[in-house]
């Protein structure tokens, strides 16, 4: 365990150095991605500007929701998305088999040797928007609320990484799993809006089988003191437990898929 932890900075360092060879491209990429999200966020701001609120959420509240959504996603996805999106190629071309014989756990190697610093633009935009939103909202901060807020971001990021791991691991059995990311991003798209604007069956789905309601809406509703459909008073605890719970599920799924992996190329 300690040996693995000592290896991680080296794995990350090698990957970061390769990105830094193309420094200008990296920085332009960060700015471009921030502009990409900014265009959509500006559109949402225009809707709220015209209609005053969206499902009872004002623009500063929506800005907090969007910033939380982007930050938790970026933190979770930087150790998982590209790495596990490309699993089916690794399996078809046999390169995953080479990872299996390395003296380090395959998940650890995949996640950290491919740590994606291209999410810098996401994180910068999210933090900037979040600071503006929190300053505009004038929340009654206490140490407990601040601790909850930080823990909720961590839990939501864990949820993202766990779901992406589960989708990527499925390729070990099905060979193809990339199309499942389309389903993930379908619900991810919904998760940037207040859950209460959707019909009840979709709200239930977003809290149970496709739990991306926990990605931003539930923690933000808790912080803002807004009612959370279905969960009610359980929302604060549930939003903190969902990340670790899905990490346990993802670890079990990953191990089961590895045990049943038979190869598909080489």
């Amino acid at each position: 365990m300690l040996r693995t932890l000592r290896l991680l900075p080296h794995l990350i360092g090698i990957h970061v150095r390769t990105h830094m060879e193309y420094r200008s491209a990296l920085v332009i990429g960060w700015i471009a991605q921030a502009v990409g999200y900014g265009g959509m966020y500006a559109s949402i701001a225009l809707i709220i500007n015209r209609f005053e609120n969206l499902g009872g959420w004002t623009w500063p509240q929506m800005a907090l929701l969007l910033a939380f959504h982007l930050l938790a996603y970026a933190v979770g996805a930087c150790i998982s998305f590209v790495q596990f999106r490309d699993m089916e190629e690794k399996i078809r071309f046999g390169t995953f088999d080479a990872i299996l014989v390395k003296p380090i756990g395959p998940w650890t190697f995949l996640a950290f040797s491919g740590l994606n610093i291209e999410y810098g633009g996401h994180i910068a935009l999210a933090i900037g928007l979040m600071i503006w939103a929190l300053l505009s909202l004038d929340l009654p901060w206490t140490p407990g609320l601040a601790l909850y807020f930080a823990a909720a971001v961590a839990s939501a990021a864990m949820l993202v990484a766990a779901l992406m791991t589960m989708i990527g691991a499925t390729a070990l059995i099905w060979v193809r799993s990339r199309h499942l990311f389309a389903i993930f991003f379908g619900f991810w798209e919904l998760a940037r809006y207040p859950l209460n604007i959707f019909p009840a069956p979709l709200q239930i789905l977003m809290i149970t089988f496709a739990p991306l309601g926990f990605l931003a809406f539930i923690p933000c509703a808790v912080v803002l003191g807004k009612p959370v459909p279905i969960l009610g008073d359980l929302a604060p605890a549930a939003s903190l437990l969902i990340g670790p719970l899905f990490v346990i599920l993802a670890a079990a799924h990953w191990r089961w898929c590895l045990r049943n992996y038979q190869g598909a190329g080489g």
């Binding site: 491209a25 959509m40 809707i47 969206l54 389903i183 604007i197 959707f198």
Partner: protein
């Protein structure tokens, strides 16, 4: 190469998409989710109001379908394919053949678009029509004008995306360009928020840029928000923009093909 030979690329592009059938149902799912998300957003925005600025909720549901899946402004796949072919050197294969690369891209995209309209937009439109309801064109004249605007929209999007993709000959990557365009299109095409809900100055500015002909004007014409003579004027302006962008693309291509630096292949 004769122009009559190019439609074969359209057929090939259509048939090659048939091979990846699992992308169809994930594509339908993705579009359905996005469409119903925006319908929910407008339903929440209109809560209690039957009419805002002369626009009703059924207008906006129809607008979401036309400006979303039908006139799909998402060019991610296309620009990344062009960028990848420049980065990995595949583009040289096309340069060695007796064909015009931008024309090849045009006919290829036509096949891809026909495939997506049939397998993704049509099922999504049927589901939305049956569950939420869709409005017919405001009048037969608006319906006919919409068809002309639809063609202009498709050509405009193709030219904007191609101009963006061709810049990869200089930058060697289309990744950042595609993200920049995504942000601009989300706001300036009017696909997410129609120009009639934007502040006056912003709407006036965006209403004169070519992006508005991709989503806003075709949808507004279909819903009868522009009368027939005004629609005709905007159609002419759109055609002028098309001519200008086509000339720019032709000029850019003439410069780009002398500038190719292949990184691999």
């Amino acid at each position: 190469m004769k122009v009559s030979a190019y439609p074969a690329f359209t057929v090939t592009a259509f048939l090659s998409r048939l091979v990846y059938r699992n992308q169809v149902w994930s594509g339908v799912f993705g579009e359905l989710v996005a469409t119903f998300a925006f319908i929910a957003v407008w339903t929440a925005a209109f809560s209690g109001s039957r009419n805002v600025d002369g626009v009703t909720l059924p207008d906006m549901v129809t607008y979401v379908l036309i400006a979303g899946p039908l006139l799909n402004w998402n060019t991610t796949r296309y620009i990344r394919e062009v960028g990848d072919s420049i980065r990995n050197g595949d583009v040289t294969v096309f340069l060695l053949k007796p064909l015009h690369y931008p024309a090849l891209l045009f006919f290829n995209q036509l096949g891809n678009n026909a495939f997506e309209q049939l397998t993704i937009t049509l099922p999504v439109a049927v589901i939305v029509a049956l569950t939420v309801g869709l409005l017919p064109p405001a009048s037969p004249a608006h319906g006919l004008l919409f068809l002309a605007f639809w063609a202009v929209s498709w050509c405009m999007l193709f030219l904007i995306a191609t101009l963006t993709g061709l810049l990869a000959f200089w930058l060697l990557t289309a990744f950042s360009l595609e993200w920049f365009l995504r942000g601009i299109m989300a706001l300036a095409s009017g696909a997410v928020v129609p120009l009639w809900f934007m502040p006056g100055a912003l709407a006036a500015l965006l209403g004169h840029l070519p992006f508005a002909w991709v989503s806003y004007y075709p949808s507004a014409v279909y819903l009868g928000k522009l009368d027939a003579p005004t629609s005709g004027v905007y159609l002419l302006i759109g055609l002028s923009w098309l001519a200008a962008l086509a000339a720019l693309a032709g000029w850019l291509w003439s410069r780009a093909r002398h500038r190719l630096v292949v990184q691999g292949g």
